[in-house]
C-alpha cells in the first residue's frame, strides 16, 4: 500500500518567506512561471505563463528564480520527517515522496490516524501537501493529482485491502495528461485520440508497444501492478547541513533569528532522531555580493537543548557585523558524537563520581582524537616497550593492566623520555644539564639478541640539583644515555 506525498508548491515553499506578507510572488524558470503564491493566483497569474505576461497582469509581482538544488534539499528534509512512519520510503524528484505504509497501519492505529499525523507534521513545517493512496507507487503518484477522497475510497478498512474493481475503474477514468510521461509520448497519445487511460488499457500489449515504445508499456504495466516496481529506499545521512534561501534579503541581525530558529528546530529534530549531539554550531551567512560570513558557536555542555542553542547563537550574533543584506543562512553541526545514556539515582544525589566518559569525548571533539590517551603496561623487558599509549578502545586495555602483578616489579622511573637522550662524559663523570653521579648498582638488560640486540647497563644517577635520573650505558653504541626521571 503506497502513499504519495506531493509537495505542489515546493518551488515556492523551499524559500524562506516571511509570514505576514501580502506580496504576490511567482517562481520562474527559463522565463516562464513555475508556481506562485495565493496573492499572485488571485491576480490571475498561472503556471506556464511567461514572466512578461505575469508582469502585465500585475505590476506588483515579485519574481524569484527557481533553485532546484534547494528543492532537493527540502525534499530530503521532508523525507526525514516522514521517515519515522515507514522505513520504505523513496524520493521521487522533483516534488514527491512515496511511502509504503501498509505495514505501519497497526502501529499508528489505523490509516486515518497515520494520515492525520503526517498532515500535522507538514503543517508545522508550513508545507502544502496532497496525499494519494494506491496499491502501486506509480498509481499513487498519478492519483496525487486527484482529490484524496477518490483514492481513499479504494481502501477497504474491514478487509484491510484495496477494492480491485474500484481501482481498475479509477484507472480507466484517469486522464492521460496527468501521467508522468514525457511530452512527446503524451502528444502522440493525444494524436491517437485517447484521453483516458482506459482507452490505452483496452489495447493489446504489442499494439501499445508498437505505437508508443517499450518504456511506455512498462510504465503502464507498473501502474496497473502487472509488473513489479522496485523502489530504491531513502537512506538518511547522519550529517547535518541545512541551507535556507531567503526570499527577502535581511538587513538586520535581529531579523536573522527567525530563519535561524527554523534551522535550529530542524537540527534538534535531527539530533533527537539519531541520538547524537555535538560541540559546535557552524553558521554561514551569504550576502547578495556573494560574501560569506561564517561564525561558530561552541557548546560547553553537549546537550540537546533548543533554548540553549538559540541563546548562544543570539549572543554570538550580537558581536557580528553583517557585510551586506543576507541572502541565505546555512547551519552545519560539526563532529557529531553519540549521546551517552545517563543513569541517575532516583532518590538523592550521591557524592560519588560516575564512570562516564562524556568529558573525554567532548575534549576529543575539540582538541582532536589524538589528544586523549590511556596508558597500558606490557610484559616487555626493554623499558620503552613496556608502556604503551592507546588513544581509543580503552575497555580492551582493562584486562591487560590487571594481568600484570605489580608487586615484584623492579624500581622504575615515573617519567620516561620518548627517546633516550645522549649524555656527555668526561674521564670520571657524566654530564646532562649538570653533573650526574651514579648511586646505584647496575641492572643489566639484554634482549632481542635475535634481531636488534639490546645490551644496556642501567644505573640510577643523582643530578647535582638532587633529582634522580635513570641512565644506561649502551654496550652497542658505547655511549651513555638518560632515559627517565624518578619523580
Amino acid at each position: 500500500m503506497w502513499l504519495c506525498v506531493r509537495f505542489a508548491l515546493l518551488p515556492l515553499e523551499s524559500f524562506w518567506i516571511t509570514d505576514n506578507e501580502s506580496q504576490a510572488i511567482a517562481i520562474c524558470e527559463r522565463n516562464s512561471v513555475v508556481c506562485c503564491n495565493q496573492q499572485a493566483y488571485e491576480f490571475g497569474v498561472r503556471a506556464g505563463q511567461t514572466v512578461s505576461t505575469a508582469y502585465a497582469i500585475t505590476g506588483d509581482l515579485k519574481v524569484i528564480e527557481r533553485r532546484v538544488e534547494q528543492e532537493v534539499e527540502v525534499l530530503k528534509t521532508m523525507a526525514l520527517q516522514v521517515y519515522p512512519f515507514s522505513p520504505v520510503l523513496s524520493l521521487w524528484q522533483p516534488d514527491k515522496l512515496l511511502v509504503e505504509i501498509g505495514r505501519s497501519l497497526n502501529l499508528f492505529k489505523g490509516l486515518d490516524n497515520l494520515l492525520m499525523q503526517i498532515k500535522s507534521i507538514m503543517a508545522q513545517q508550513s508545507m502544502t501537501v496532497s496525499f494519494a493512496l494506491a496499491p502501486t507507487p506509480k498509481a499513487a503518484e498519478a492519483f496525487s493529482f486527484l482529490p484524496l477522497e477518490q483514492s481513499y475510497s479504494l481502501w477497504n478498512k474491514q478487509q484491510g485491502q484495496f477494492e480491485q474493481h474500484c481501482f481498475r475503474k479509477l484507472l480507466n477514468e484517469l486522464p492521460v495528461n496527468i501521467l508522468t510521461l514525457d511530452d512527446k509520448t503524451l502528444s502522440k497519445i493525444n494524436a491517437l485520440g485517447f484521453t483516458r487511460l482506459g482507452d490505452l488499457l483496452s489495447l493489446s500489449e504489442s499494439a501499445l508497444a508498437k505505437r508508443l515504445g517499450r518504456s511506455t508499456v512498462t510504465y503502464i504495466q507498473q501502474l496497473t501492478g502487472a509488473l513489479p516496481d522496485v523502489q530504491t529506499c531513502f537512506q538518511p545521512l547522519v550529517k547535518f547541513k541545512r541551507t535556507l534561501e531567503l526570499a527577502d534579503v535581511i538587513h538586520h541581525t535581529e531579523a536573522l533569528l527567525f530563519p535561524m530558529k527554523r534551522l535550529l528546530q530542524d537540527l534538534i529534530y535531527f539530533l533527537r532522531l539519531y541520538q547524537k549531539t555535538g560541540q559546535t554550531l557552524s553558521w554561514k551567512l551569504q550576502d547578495i555580493y556573494r560574501n560569506q560570513l561564517t561564525f561558530e558557536v561552541h557548546l560547553a555542555e553537549s546537550q540537546v537543548n533548543y533554548e540553549l542553542y538559540l541563546e548562544l547563537t543570539r549572543l554570538k550574533l550580537e558581536s557580528i557585523k553583517l557585510t551586506g543584506p543576507v541572502e541565505s543562512v546555512e547551519l552545519t553541526m560539526l563532529k557529531l558524537i553519540d549521546v551517552e545514556q545517563k543513569t541517575d539515582s532516583l532518590f538523592s544525589a550521591t557524592e560519588n563520581f560516575s564512570d562516564e566518559l562524556n568529558f573525554a569525548s567532548k575534549i576529543k571533539a575539540r582538541l582532536g582524537s589524538k589528544s586523549c590517551f590511556w596508558i597500558t603496561q606490557k610484559n616487555e623487558v626493554v623499558p620503552e616497550l613496556a608502556s604503551k599509549s592507546i588513544t581509543d578502545g580503552h575497555r580492551q586495555i582493562f584486562k591487560n593492566n590487571t594481568d600484570i602483578n605489580s608487586e615484584d616489579q623492579p624500581n622504575r622511573p615515573a617519567w620516561l623520555f620518548p627517546v633516550p637522550q645522549a649524555i656527555g662524559q668526561t674521564k670520571s663523570a657524566l654530564y646532562w644539564q649538570g653533573r650526574l653521579s651514579i648511586i646505584s648498582q647496575p641492572e643489566r638488560i639484554v634482549h632481542y639478541w635475535w634481531k636488534k640486540p639490546v645490551i644496556r647497563d642501567y644505573f640510577i644517577a643523582q643530578h647535582e640539583s638532587g633529582n634522580f635520573y635513570w641512565v644506561f650505558f649502551d654496550a652497542n653504541k658505547k655511549r651513555w644515555f638518560v632515559q627517565g626521571i624518578f619523580s
Binding site: F359, Q409, F473
Partner: protein
C-alpha cells in the same frame, strides 16, 4: 543588629575565613604521609579546591608526593586525569605505586587556553575524582587558576596544579599552595638529619598556619642505594672516541643527538668547536 546587615551577610559567606571560628570538618583526602597530614589544616588534600604545587624542575618527586592519594582515589569511582604532563607517564612505575592504570587518562593540548578548557571540562564532568594539570612558564595565571577553582568547587573533586617555583611571588586563587624541593646532593653529609629527604613548604592554607616546613622521604628505596661517591664506581669509559675529552662547560650543554655530536667532532674541525675556549 538586624540579620540583613552587611556584616552578617559577610559572615555567612563560606569563603571568608574567621580566626575565631573553629572550622567544622571540611572534606579532604589523606595525603598518605602522616607528617604532612598533621600540618595541613584539613588533614589532607582539600576536596573541591585547587592545590598548587610549586617545583624547581620537573621530576622533583611530585608524583611520589601525589601518588598515594591518587592511587587510593583510582580504586574508587571516577577517573584520574593528567593534563599536559611534561613527559610520558611510565606504566610500570605507576603500577608499582598502586595506581589503577585503567582509570588514568592523559590529555595533551597545544595551547594554554585548550589546556585550561580541558581541565575545566574534566573538573566539572562529575566523572573525575582528581585532575592534575601542568602549567609551564612563569606567568601569573591568575584568571586561569581562579577558573579552575570554580570548576573544582562545582565538580567537588581534587584539582592539582603543578608549576614553576618562581611563580610563588604571584598571588594565586589556589586554596593550598605547597612548594617542593629536594635536599641538595652536595649540601653535606651524615650530619644533616634531613639529607636525602624532600622539603615541603606550605606557602598558603586557609584556616591554618602557613610557612611550615615538612621533610618527607619520598624515595624510601634510597637506603638500598650506595652513598659511595661516583669516582669509586667503575664507570665504563670509551677510549677510542674523541669526544671523551670534554670540558665540563661543553658537557653541560648536552643534550645533543649522537649524529649531531659526531658531525661536530670529526677530526677536521676538532679545533673549531664552538664552546671550547
Amino acid at each position: 543588629m538586624s540579620d540583613k546587615s552587611s556584616i552578617n551577610q559577610l559572615l555567612k559567606n563560606p569563603a571568608l575565613w574567621q580566626a575565631a571560628r573553629v572550622e567544622t570538618h571540611r572534606p579532604s583526602h589523606p595525603t598518605g604521609f602522616e607528617k604532612l597530614d598533621v600540618q595541613l589544616c584539613d588533614g589532607g588534600w582539600p576536596q573541591g579546591a585547587v592545590t598548587e604545587l610549586l617545583l624547581p624542575t620537573d621530576g622533583t618527586g611530585e608524583l611520589r608526593l601525589l601518588l598515594p592519594a591518587l592511587s587510593k582515589l583510582s580504586r574508587q569511582q571516577g577517573y584520574i586525569v593528567f593534563v599536559d604532563p611534561p613527559f610520558l607517564p611510565y606504566a610500570p612505575a605507576l603500577n608499582k605505586q598502586g595506581l589503577n592504570l585503567n582509570k588514568l587518562l592523559v590529555i595533551r593540548s597545544k595551547k594554554l587556553e585548550q589546556s585550561i578548557w580541558a581541565t575545566y571540562q574534566a573538573l566539572t564532568s562529575q566523572s573525575c575524582s582528581a585532575v592534575v594539570t601542568w602549567l609551564t612558564g612563569k606567568a601569573a595565571y591568575k584568571n586561569e587558576i581562579r577558573k579552575l577553582s570554580l570548576g573544582a568547587r562545582q565538580g567537588r573533586c581534587w584539582s592539582f596544579v603543578l608549576r614553576d617555583e618562581k611563580a610563588a611571588v604571584h598571588p594565586s586563587a589556589a586554596k593550598l599552595r605547597v612548594a617542593l624541593s629536594m635536599a641538595k646532593q652536595h649540601k653535606a653529609i651524615s650530619s644533616n638529619a634531613n639529607y636525602g629527604m624532600s622539603q615541603l613548604s606550605i606557602l598558603k592554607q586557609p584556616g591554618g598556619w602557613s610557612n611550615r616546613k615538612v621533610y618527607l622521604n619520598l624515595f624510601p628505596e634510597q637506603r638500598f642505594w650506595t652513598s659511595v661517591s661516583a669516582k669509586h664506581w667503575s664507570v665504563p669509559v670509551v677510549k677510542q672516541a674523541p669526544q671523551t675529552v670534554l670540558s665540563p662547560e661543553l658537557a653541560a650543554a648536552i643534550p645533543y643527538s649522537v649524529e649531531q655530536w659526531l658531525k661536530q667532532v670529526t677530526p677536521g674541525n676538532k679545533h673549531s668547536l664552538p664552546l671550547v675556549h
